[in-house]
Amino acid sequence: MKYSQILLLVSFLFVLSSAQGQKKFAQIEELIPTPNEYRNAAGAPGHNYYQQQADYKMNIVIDDATQMLKGDEVITYTNNSPDALGYLWLQLDQNLFSKTSDTKLIQVEKMEDFRDISQLKRKIFDYDGGFKIEDISSLNGVNLRYSINKTMLRIDLDKPLKTGASISFKIKWWYNINDRMAVGGRSGYEYFEKEDNYIYTVAQFFPRMCVYDDVSGWQNKQFLGRGEFTLPFGNYDVSITVPSDHVLGATGELQNTSSILSGDQRKRLEQAKKSDSPVFIVTEEEAKASEVDHSKSTKTWKFKALNVRDFAFASSRKFIWDAQNTTVGGKDVLCMSYYPKEGNPLWERYSTKLVAHTVQTYSKYTVDYPYPVAISVHSKSIGMEYPMICFNGGRPEPDGTYSERTKYGMWGVIIHEVGHNFFPMIINSDERQWTWMDEGLNTFVQYLTEQEWERDYPSRRGPAYKIADYMKGDKSNISPIMTNSESIWQFGNNAYGKPATALNILRETVMGRELFDYAFKTYCERWKFKHPTPADFFRTMEDASAVDLDWFWRGWFYSTDHVDISLESVKLFQLNTQNPITEKAFQKEQNDTKDEFKGDLENKKTIKETINEKDAGIDDFYAKRDLFKVDKLDEFEYTQFVKRNNQNLELLNSEKFFYELNFKNIGGLVMPLIIRINYIDETSEIIRIPAEIWRRSEVDVSKVFILDKEVVSFRLDPLLETADTDLYNNSWPRELIPSRYDLFKQQKMRNRRDENPMQRQKRVDELGN
């Protein structure tokens, strides 16, 4: 009875320990949707995958006197789903700025937030934003029934829209363009008071079809300001009427160059299409001349864009315009920049080259850039992306100088926003649900692109060690990556930094570059011009690499655990050779070099002679024997041992060092163990142990290294590749890790108190004159 109870207990403990070991390495099927005919188990589109189509014809007018935007549009919506649709949902993003917007209402506030007048002004700022819908009707003028729910518009159909059927309808609207510098926003205008000019960056400016798919049905989550957009692909035919002295860049290809551009400008544009460096189409001098003459006449710019998910444009008489060609997969891409003189000298020097570099590098890691143009527009303080066009900050100081920080900020934002052409404009994930799927993946490729632009580029995000501050410590107010966009704590770190870091770790540490790059490109190819979900990404990365990454997704994407693996202890063992000559000499050395008690050392000096030193009769056998002397019996026994173990002698005499290293997982995230071994002869090597070492014991593991040389130190994660948050416990023997303050004190003499170095150089030059 007792015996069976023990057996039962042992069995129970085994089951318990197995279950615990399965927590971090358990497969993620319970967390992701079951594969189906639309999305298969390999992570690819299923055999019945479908997506909807939304085509737009629009006439848009900017009223430069009142900063109003007016438009009418014809939407043709094609239902490719297997379902009949009784109503259609459209997005009204501009209603974010309406007076009844939920965005303001749901902000948590305390009186501390009203401490200064600026904060109070912002809270009570009055701006009549939001769409004014004038008409929604069929093409033959019959009014359609519709209902507006804040940022969503529902059109009720008389008859359900059947599978394969299309419907066309008209919407007429207008709204007051927001002063972006006052009320904020991803788009709007910037006003230049001295010269009474505007730069308009116009986006999310028309009622746009929501996505209807196999995942969410209608994706009609309200736009609250953070979770960006998910939109169906379609073709756009857009006419935009602006003052005739404006220069305009937009999603798509300009259709009427002959009626819009001067002969010189057309010639320069043709020249740019053949040039691999930027060519001015509108020069700074020409832009400056336009700034003065405020034309009252108008021009209409016409654009067509095929297979895009959105449309945006920028317009101003302040714009300088340059362009160059780059070739991707045998197709020409016209890279262009639009910027005011305030952006120079940075913008004329770098913007278009950065666009070309980004298009090239992203094409290498993802899919070939498929569109005919790629545009970067200078828009103070922000970074925001749309198909083929993005709005980017990075403005020099008024004296034309700029700091390195401004330069890197400008470079980074252009690469990032141009990179968004790939995520999510082409690989069209649901931004409103999962911010990380576009921002995280994009930030990851941004890092790769930055590093190919300049060696040792100071990338803000990507390297593992840069996420450590965010991930360590108190988890009560941070969220897993797999959190809905509107509910994320810490948007930047959660949706940009952490996923970018995770992918970097996969590439450099877990999978290796070759496997990772192939799998990542496979995901991009599978889902270009489609709507992927997180599960499609997770499955494809495993399917194309034969690496089980469920533990990685579970830890990095579904939990808030952090990496803190401690090298708890190191024990050294050496084989007993059984050879008395070797072993007794070793014992003697140990005895001779052991620490001595201070009193014993003093006694040796102060006690001239002890009794047994005076009296020879005191010392007996025990006192006289030499513990470390090899006697005949030792030799005989060793001879016998050698006869019995002849085959093992080589191993026994190999003088190998056995180091047992004990590790503790403090942070919770299981990660590979990367250990640098520094030997006594000043050589070193790095040993990599896969994360699966933690599969049966998630907290404590040990590993024995059998080495030929003695070790002076071990260092865990020596190349800072796992985002370990506490480096102090990574070393044996322990190395003191200085705090930021300590480092600052050490380099205080080198404190960078210099002014903007370009300004300093100006003063140097003045002295020289």
């Binding site: 925001m384 948007f491 940009y496 705090s739 210099d754």
Partner: protein, 165 residues
């Protein structure tokens, strides 16, 4: 009962949707030699720049502000230290500005040393930028006398905490 509050007259803050960081990190350690706290505060240069641009008179850039004695005082006193305050036994602890570092990766570090204080319990209020960015969240890493890092999170609902030195 009606409470009266006084406004500080600073200029107008913009609010935009650029990719702000909304996070500040502080490291703090008690130094027995000076009986004081040594503190570093890391903030996003982008976030700070946007606030300074609106709050500091004649502000041009962080680079130029940080070499201008008046502007650096305004940045440290009126911005940074408004959002990082220490008190002990209900008495404010004075913090002395030691210096800064401005990095090209978008981070800016400020270094402070406190006046002499007892190694007893302190109260830390770390609500830097919370009045401007509603998503702001800050984190303090205190390295205790056993060389163990203890982390404290601060966010809009929890702006201060007690720490036993």
């Amino acid at each position: 009962m009606k409470h009266i509050f006084t406004l500080i007259f600073l200029s107008f803050h913009t609010l935009n949707f650029a990719h702000e960081t909304y996070f500040a990190f502080a490291e703090m350690e008690y130094d027995d030699k000076c009986s004081c706290l040594e503190i570093s505060i890391k903030v996003s240069s982008h976030d700070l720049n946007e606030i300074a641009e609106n709050d500091i008179e004649n502000y041009k850039s962080l680079e130029s502000a940080l070499i201008d004695k008046k502007q650096i005082k305004e940045i440290t006193d009126d911005i940074i230290l408004q959002g990082f305050q220490i008190s002990q036994a209900k008495k404010f602890t004075q913090l002395f500005y030691e210096g800064f570092e401005l990095n090209n990766d978008g981070n800016c570090y400020f270094f402070f040393r406190s006046e002499e204080i007892d190694p007893e319990t302190i109260n830390v209020r770390f609500d830097l930028f919370m009045g401007i960015y509603t998503d702001q969240q800050n984190k303090l890493i205190y390295r205790n006398s056993n060389d163990i890092n203890v982390t404290y999170g601060f966010f809009i609902f929890k702006r201060q905490t007690d720490i036993k030195l």
